[in-house]
């Protein structure tokens, strides 16, 4: 079973087409393993990307360096998944 301990989902707002293009490039870098939950499309619309824990610092640095505005939408994906599992277990019981 794949675990997502420490993975975060970042909500990024791209200001212009150039930033949209940068986010797309970020998504294409296989080593970063970024998973878009909401794809970059229109400037001003939120883009959500899940970033594996080992790559968090790198991705955040990159976003800071390029002056992206972003917030942490989900602090720890695994915590939410555990809650979801527990809720299903309770419901089944």
């Amino acid at each position: 079973e794949q675990l997502f301990v420490g993975d975060q989902v970042l909500r990024v707002t791209a200001r212009n087409e150039e930033q949209i293009a940068l986010l797309r490039v970020l998504g294409e870098q296989e080593e970063l393993q970024v998973d878009f939950w909401r794809h970059p499309n229109i400037p001003g619309h939120p883009v959500d990307l899940r970033v594996p824990f080992p790559n968090l610092q790198g991705v955040k640095k990159l976003l800071d360096f390029r002056n992206f505005s972003y917030s942490i939408m989900i602090e720890d994906v695994q915590e939410l998944l555990d809650e979801e599992k527990e809720s299903m277990r309770r419901s089944r019981r």
């Binding site: 794949q2 909500r11 939950w37 794809h39 229109i42 939120p46 994906v77 979801e84 809720s87 419901s91």
Partner: protein, 310 residues
């Protein structure tokens, strides 16, 4: 103890086995209205089940609904379950549902990507694609919403099997996609296709593979406007609407573009709600509110289809 669709917990997420079992219970509870048909098998040989809501007649016009083609979007399968129950309950009670089903059939595929859905329960909660093996690649799966023969391989889809938007080796390569295509083609009188996704709070219509407006753009735009307004009236959830290409992004090979290009005029895709904090991990407490607010929008589209035969 006799099984009953009334004891099912609609406010919880369920596995594929639980949903498939529940479908049988729904059929048992409404034998004159609901039946279960199998339209094919998935890549891993799971049955592809569709609920048919019909009051009789032969070869009636029909509405097609599908939920969960992207397996990790759990709120959609859960909304599909709730919606199936709602349709069954409201026939004979709600005048709109009764009028629709007195003239048309409704087909609802709740678990449109069963292999992916089973995988989200066993191995990777965040799996989106099918589970087919890609020759020559270590990466598994095809995005079934980029696999249709409508602008296949175009913008917004990827030729890289490791991408979440991989379009597949050829159009309709995925058994899950092909089964729907074969079914709709063979049926011949499907007048509306509504494919349900999450999460972005949108009601979209063709085209996705090109920016030019569809010939029926104005009518669909007006219908979408009414549907999102009625949806918002329930809990105030705001949806945007418009063509896929102009509202989100260019996307080749999508379900509703294929449907539209193949004569299904009322082709829509819904992106269900998110509070902006959970994404695909929307808490189960939001299932019933999400499904409840989606219902009037679905009803608007189905009533429009009923009132505008073509």
């Amino acid at each position: 103890v006799k099984r009953s669709s009334r004891t099912f917990d609609f406010a919880s997420y369920h596995t594929i086995d639980e949903i498939y079992d529940w479908m049988d219970v729904l059929v048992e509870d409404h034998p004159k209205l609901v039946s279960k048909i199998q339209i094919g098998q998935s890549y891993e040989n799971r049955p592809l089940y569709v609920l048919k809501f019909s009051t009789g007649g032969s070869n009636r016009p029909a509405v097609w609904l599908d939920t969960g083609i992207h397996s990790r979007e759990w709120i959609t399968q859960a909304t599909g379950v709730w919606t199936a129950n709602k349709i069954a309950q409201e026939y004979g009670q709600d005048p709109s549902v009764t009028a629709i089903l007195d003239s048309m059939d409704i087909f609802l595929e709740i678990v449109t990507n069963p292999d992916g859905f089973a995988f989200t329960h066993s191995s990777n909660r965040l799996w989106r694609k099918t589970r087919s093996i890609n020759a020559g690649s270590r990466c598994i799966g095809v995005d079934p919403n980029r696999n249709w023969d409508a602008g296949f391989g175009g913008a917004g889809s990827s030729s890289n099997p490791c991408s979440e938007t991989y379009h597949g080796p050829h159009a309709h390569s995925e058994k899950e996609v092909r089964a729907i295509m074969d079914f709709i083609r063979a049926h011949g009188k499907v007048k509306s296709v509504i494919s349900i996704h999450s999460y972005s709070q949108m009601l979209l219509f063709p085209y996705g593979y090109r920016r030019a407006p569809a010939p029926d753009h104005q009518e669909m735009n007006e219908l979408a406007k009414k549907a999102v307004s009625d949806l918002a009236a329930v809990f105030g959830t705001k949806y945007t609407y418009g063509s896929i290409a102009n509202t989100i992004y260019m996307a080749g090979g999508t379900t509703i573009d294929w449907a539209y290009d193949n004569g299904v005029k009322y082709s829509f895709t819904l992106e269900l709600r998110d509070s902006g904090r959970y994404g695909f991990l929307l808490p189960s407490s939001q299932i019933v509110p999400t499904a409840t607010e989606t219902w009037p929008a679905l009803l608007d589209i189905m009533v429009h289809v009923l009132e505008h035969p073509y």
